[in-house]
Symmetry: D2
């Protein structure tokens, strides 16, 4: 007998579900009309005072069986859905999102190659630009190996004010000279919004470092630049924050942005940071921007760079960044984690031999 | 004119809100009736297949303006609320929750004092029981200072199998002798479900350690014991998991449970763990169980034990646990973080002088 | 002139370095002799009281230029090195370490295949064993695809005591029947030390779950078993703790242990846990045990299982574990993250097509 | 007999210890002389190439019993100690450290009160400056309660570029007007190095926010300002990084810096961040700068602000920051965590009643 009862109750349930659907949809349409009027008036669509009044009225009518808290929660969900519907354009569809642009963003490099699409890219170079000779030696080696992009730090954000802070503009100039000499695309970190404009006189790609991912003034200024931007994930930024940081740049007009995972801060001590490999497929799914992995800074140790680079490419990354120094023990920064030139050549040869690195650039 | 329109639309909105409230409440009542029938039949209330079918039917009727995903989300919220309503008894009101029991749980100790309520308690003793002489020396000192509870580790869960694992039952026996000699309540960690029963022959309170907070078989066994249980928060357990671990014990019939915050694992290196002080007021709010703080294991360093203990009591903790050893440099475990006896006496005197430690126990 | 001076000072420096080397080596030999005597006496080699006295004597003689703290630090390093030298056997060379055993441990499975060495393995099955029909359906599918190992949870450690706790021994029996029917190796989690012995009547491999990685009593019991053990990394265990947990098992005589990375707990919310991909090459370097990756529990979402599995194999993992359920929405646990059977087949086909999965098992 | 032997060996050990001490001290003096010459030459003291050569020479002479790796480690420790000795000035004694300045830094406020020393301070105000009326209402309330410092955000660093970014300079101007009207000291966050100079026209204290703790260009610019700076700990900055960030400001000449703990990012979800209470006594020990606690941003929920504030003061904090808004539900940012005015008054009254808030400011 109880099954007869059950069937009957389920029929009623289906009916009430339909009524709910109708009411919810009708409500959304009214909310939309209100939103349209507000838009014409230039008034913000979200009106928390009005929302509160509505909620209070609803709660005052609640006779159960739900507790007031539950009713408040359910209606807030319904309110929120209506609001999202109205602000869909920017809320649901960030400019950096796949929903806004289905096809991959591809960054054309001055050396004739590109980042994104079906090719893998390797970005290599010393942690800090220390001298013309040092950068030239690395430049020659990576050019010879078929690496298109030379990276070197000229402005170094360091934990202590007493640590080596980089050669500054002189460092950018060294990069420019070596880049031109070998036909390499160059990239360097910019840390001050006042330097973004000048950067285009020296380098081809601006890097925004992990410590500056939340430096919104720098992001905004980078959004005004005509150079591509390589944006690093913050020390403990969520993927959501990372995408919003990219949005700061893109929303200012610069759509040439690349995301680079570089490990997140965790309790684990055997690596400098924890490479968040899952971020690669998720960011590729959520966004049309190229996604790279900085294996050097995530690992913080040389001995696992190759498996980490393989994992990055296997997970779908568009490229890998690695630090190379002619003589790591004498490096002015991060001496333990940089590859020397023969180590770099082995690294890159094995990476290519794995079949995971796909490139038409010739060595 | 548009304001007239707005007012009109808002009236419609209020009406539709009321209709929604009615439908939602009606739906909940039907769900409840179905749940009652299922309960009689002994069938689980959550029926994902039926839920899926309902959702598909609703989605098939959706003409917008909401996307199917939004409708699915809203209805899942509504379904979930109905289900929560039915399983309120155990879901919303864990036995350990304030909603289930408004008044504080107070644990009566064999020495005549108690934990919980308006008194503060200090639990003190060596990390490991090493010898009768060692424990006796600490026992005498803490008794003299007016500390009611003596703690010592007999079974030591250690990271390495080659580290000192404790004296085992012999250690429990030493605790028992010293406890009886001074009229102190004794507490020691039990790590094996097979030892819970035997524990009551030796000690007055069972400690479940941080590494075993998720050892549900041990929790269940502790739930069958007639001894009070001091449950440590896991190395990186959420507060929600912590309360559920306590529920494992209480739901088996042992309501004498105390919670002890002992720091959580984070990236910060200047402390062994990060004392989560906010957990104290939140756990006190959410649960009627006594909440203590293990300042030794959270800090992992002696020099901040006093301010951490003050903070714990100021935040509302019912007590503090601290490690004391007659000769810390020779301790077989955790030698760096244990107080020696004069340091302990200073610590306790200053804590009492702060006015934050409220006790009627006489020194 | 100052360069002449510099050269002279450097010569002196080299001389003093040699003296230091001599003294340090001589000291180590004396320490060794002392250690040998103590070993014969059965006295612990580490004598903190004596060490303290030595330090105090040294400090009392210190006239600078180093501060006492620095001298204390340097001598503690020297003392520690001497001690390590004596306890090398167990300290430097855990049984699970590569230094102890250079060649890979290979686990022979009853189905004739093996884990470790040059082959990849896939372990698949439902989160919970729910019924014979359910397990049989998965068993048939994975056997058909060429997967050698069937996994299913019979004892489920759940956050809440009110959640489904698994079918227990009945679940093990279902696994056994399906395993025998299809010639599949079976694996299931054991959570109680009292069940380890009985496990061998039903299953081929014991899984120790993440919540129990620090349950040393369970590890010790597993060390007495003759079944291979798949040990999961704890929710926020370091790699060092993970290897020591394995050592608990191996040091009891059971050398058939496999390590499985399953994501660590971080602040990131878009994945259930953060898959620590760097752990794969590091664990492979440090230990001779097979290393696998549980992609389901690390990701906690279906949509990135394939890239995560590829990354795991590219990083050097010996295998991958994935959850498969005939009808995930009706699953009694973890319904959102389990693949259905066609999804599983796609997953495995694409994984094989990537060239990263190396197996001679025939589908 | 073996004890005679032991005694003899121990005597030898003591002798060799003394030789080691002599050699180590002598070595340090030579290193110092070399350092002095290099300093005159303007050459960096750390010379990794020379260090490597020395190590290789030492290793080549090593006949055991230590392995080469151990010898390398020990000598690196000795080299490092020598180097530290030479760079003591800036390495061991940061300007912000207690070792450099034993007495507490006290910040004099324009309203005649001060921060640091023996008084507690409360800083209160709305998350965002929204209008003159809003800020005036809060200003009147806090002035009436005896709070000396009014805080309001004019430049708001927000995760999304589409969220309310603050009123900018207009907001600063509102703060200035209200500050002058009530004789309150004002504080507001500056996010762009180009705004630091202009800030002194409007506000009394510059706040550097958590997201900008690693924005070294902003820190350097703040170091040139004559306004006191309230520096927030970064989202997941270590205490060491926090102190170094303060050093960036102080080393530029601005010694008026206050540190404010605001919770760190962890896995726990019941609070917005995890208030790291241990940071309070540690920072007070390590540094002479005032240490405050932002209870609002650490907790992210109103209901535990009072116990957290009490804990902060009990742990030794010099003050507490809390957000107050006349009508939190309508706030343009962080509406859920701000106190309304009556809640604020209760909060402050109870904090004062606890005896932990020590102030001579009259309400």
């Amino acid at each position: 007998m109880s099954n007869v009862q059950l069937d009957h109750l389920r029929e009623e349930m289906d009916k009430i579900n339909q009524e709910l659907l109708k009411s919810i949809s009708k409500r959304a349409n009214i909310a939309k009309e209100i939103g349209d009027i507000k838009e014409k008036q230039g008034v913000p669509k979200f009106d928390p005072v009005r929302e509160n009044k509505m909620l209070e009225k609803i709660i005052s009518l609640n006779d159960g069986p739900f507790e007031d808290g539950t009713i408040r929660h359910l209606f807030k969900q319904i309110f929120k859905a209506s609001l999202d519907l109205q602000s869909k354009e920017h809320k649901k569809h960030l400019l950096v999102s796949r929903k806004k642009q289905a096809e991959d963003t591809v960054i054309d490099l001055p050396d004739g190659t590109f980042i994104g699409g079906n090719e893998s890219v390797l970005i290599a170079g010393p942690c800090s630009v220390e001298s013309y000779e040092q950068v030239r030696e690395v430049g020659a080696a990576i050019k010879g190996a078929g690496v298109p992009v030379l990276r070197g730090g000229a402005f170094k954000p360091r934990t202590s004010p007493y640590d080596f802070q980089g050669l500054g503009v002189e460092g950018l100039d060294i990069l420019k000279r070596v880049g031109e000499e070998f036909g390499l695309t160059t990239i360097s970190e910019i840390v001050d919004p006042r330097h973004i404009e000048m950067a285009s006189d020296y380098i081809d790609i601006i890097q925004i470092g992990a410590r500056n991912m939340h430096n919104f003034e720098l992001l905004k200024e980078a959004g005004e630049s005509n150079l591509p931007v390589l944006l690093k994930r913050g020390l403990s930024a969520t993927m959501e924050e990372f995408l919003h940081a990219a949005e700061y740049i893109v929303s200012r007009g610069n759509s040439q942005v690349m995301l680079i995972e570089r490990g997140i801060r965790t309790y684990e001590k055997w690596t400098r940071n924890t490479l968040d490999i899952s971020a690669v497929p998720i960011l590729k799914q959520e966004s049309h921007l190229p996604v790279l992995v900085d294996v050097t800074h995530s690992a913080g140790r040389k001995d696992i760079l190759l498996p980490c680079a393989k994992a990055a490419l296997a997970a779908g990354a568009d490229g890998v960044m690695v630090e190379v120094h002619p003589d790591p023990p004498t490096a002015l920064s991060d001496s333990q984690q940089q590859l020397d030139i023969p180590q770099f050549q082995d690294f890159f040869n094995e990476l290519k031999a794995s079949g995971l690195y796909k490139s038409t650039v010739k060595a």
